[in-house]
């Protein structure tokens, strides 16, 4: 189509009123996936539209609203007003049970404090990962105690006031001992009656029995 014909068409259709142009830009910028430049907008709209002017009007209209018309590079886009950014975050609190390793480590510290990492490992019988201690430190349930005056001067861990608060204890001395736990039936994995757990000999005798 020649320019002449184009011009003829243009003159046939007058550009829509400015308010209408504003509506058009509003709709386009709302629906497009990317910011659009004035040029791109003009390409989409009827001939003769005053895109920059309509944009200026639209920008003014959204001043102080929940969304604003902003310039992004050489394009235009609607964006959430900065003061409402907090609405775009959803905070969820997830309650999780402590892992077995964490609760055991915590228990050992509570019962034996101050306790070094080596001591915790000795009691648990397995190594204690750095992550477990970090997590308990982060939770605020344990903290560093005084260094032990032994070779290597290892750090010790003790429980905190927060720990006592969380578990409803006046002091860590209130924690019941093993015998009390057993009497109270808290020891679920109770050894078979008549076997004294502390005596290694018993066990070996048991082995011998098997081979008799």
């Amino acid at each position: 189509m020649s320019d002449k014909t184009d011009n003829a068409i243009e003159s046939l259709f007058e550009a829509p009123p400015l308010a209408e142009q504003e509506r058009m830009i509003e709709a386009i910028l709302f629906a497009t996936a990317e910011p659009m430049s004035s040029k791109q907008l003009a390409d989409r709209m009827p001939h003769g539209c005053e895109v920059p002017e309509a944009l200026a009007h639209l920008r003014k209209r959204y001043e102080g609203r929940g969304v604003r018309l902003v310039k992004v590079g050489d394009g235009w886009a609607f964006r959430t007003a900065p003061d409402l950014g907090f609405l775009m975050q959803k905070e969820t609190v997830e309650t999780r049970k402590l892992s077995q390793a964490a609760i055991e480590t915590l228990a050992i510290i509570a019962y034996h404090q101050p306790a070094t990492r080596a001591e915790i490992e000795e009691i648990r019988g397995v190594s204690v990962s750095r992550g477990t201690l970090d997590m308990l430190l982060e939770l605020g349930w344990i903290k560093l105690g005084r260094r032990r005056m032994t070779p290597g001067r290892p750090v010790t861990f003790i429980v905190t006031q927060e720990f006592l608060d969380h578990f409803g204890l006046e002091s860590s001395r209130d924690l019941p001992g093993i015998k009390e736990l057993r009497d109270a039936g808290i020891l679920d994995n109770r050894p078979p009656p008549g076997v004294k757990p502390e005596e290694e000999d018993d066990k070996e005798r048991g082995q011998d029995d098997m081979f008799e």
């Binding site: 709709a27 709302f30 629906a31 497009t32 996936a33 990317e34 910011p35 886009a77 609607f78 959430t80 775009m88 975050q89 959803k90 905070e91 969820t92 609190v93 997830e94 309650t95 999780r96 049970k97 402590l98 077995q100 964490a102 609760i103 055991e104 915590l106 228990a107 050992i108 509570a110 019962y111 009691i123 648990r124 019988g125 997590m135 939770l139 969380h166 578990f167 409803g168 204890l169 924690l175 019941p176 093993i178 736990l181 057993r182 808290i186 020891l187 679920d188 994995n189 109770r190 050894p191 078979p192 076997v195 757990p197 048991g206 082995q207």
Partner: protein
């Protein structure tokens, strides 16, 4: 005709083609000259009569339908079961309409059946019109649009750990009494493996130009405790045999129970 289906399938270029194929395979829809299903045909027939559906002569409709089915049967043997059921039903309806009801017959009268058929036809016609009006509405993604640049809601997740004092006590009890009920197994503390011995020997044998006793090769920490010593000796001896086999060292024992002597195998 089958051709109609094929043109229908041609339009389906994406995954919906499968669905379309299943539609064609499963349904009893038969396209005969563009008619789909028996009621469809009836509707078209009733339209050609150019009368109000509610006043349509069901009898005339039935006669025409039956004639059509006869013709279709003549042209092509397989006819959708729908058509045949409908044909049978219409034949029954026709007889009801033509013959006076038998005394004591409490079945539905021909008029009732005809009225219901008229209702069905009217309802289908209404649904067709409604479907067309629905599809004629402005549609999302075609005429109006949703937000193009959505902002994701960032989820800030706070994990709160809980434990009760009971958990704590049970955990402690578990730890303190774990040894009590360990399943039976051999303690492996005083066990020196052949792999360990081999590793050690390989490092040492290169320097052993002179004969030396096997005992010299035991690690220091394994020499005093009799249990450990026994294990280390056995492992080291096994490792020596392995190295002798590989041709890296020589073994010599002068008499029974004499010390076992080792040295690097010299190039001959």
């Amino acid at each position: 005709m089958p051709d109609d289906h094929i043109t229908g399938l041609d339009a389906a270029t994406d995954s919906f083609a499968d669905v379309e194929a299943r539609v064609a395979a499963e349904s009893l829809v038969v396209d005969v000259d563009g008619f789909e299903g028996p009621l469809d045909l009836l509707l078209t027939l009733s339209r050609t009569q150019k009368v109000d559906l509610r006043k349509v002569s069901i009898l005339e409709l039935a006669i025409q339908y039956l004639a059509f089915v006869e013709e279709a049967k003549r042209l092509r043997i397989e006819l959708a079961a729908d058509y045949l059921v409908m044909a049978a039903w219409l034949a029954f309806l026709k007889s009801r309409l033509l013959l006076p009801p038998e005394p004591g017959d409490d079945g539905p009268s021909g008029e009732e059946l005809a009225a219901h058929l008229a209702f069905q036809l009217e309802r289908l016609e209404a649904m067709r019109r409604s479907a067309a009006r629905l599809m004629g509405r402005d549609q999302l993604g075609r005429d109006f649009f949703a937000r193009g640049q959505t902002e994701d809601v960032s989820r800030k997740r706070t994990v709160k750990y809980t434990a009760t004092v009971l958990d704590l006590m049970q955990a402690y009890a578990r730890v303190k009494t774990r040894d009590d009920f360990e399943p039976l197994h051999m303690k492996r503390g005083a066990f020196y493996t052949m792999e360990q011995a081999l590793e050690r020997m390989k490092g040492l044998i290169g320097h052993a130009m002179e004969w030396g006793t096997l005992e010299q090769y035991l690690p220091e920490a394994w020499r005093l405790d009799p249990k450990k010593r026994r294990s280390a000796t056995a492992a080291t001896f096994a490792a020596s045999l392995e190295l002798a086999k590989e041709g890296q060292l020589e073994i010599r024992q002068d008499e029974m129970f004499a010390p076992i002597m080792l040295r690097k195998k010299l190039a001959s």
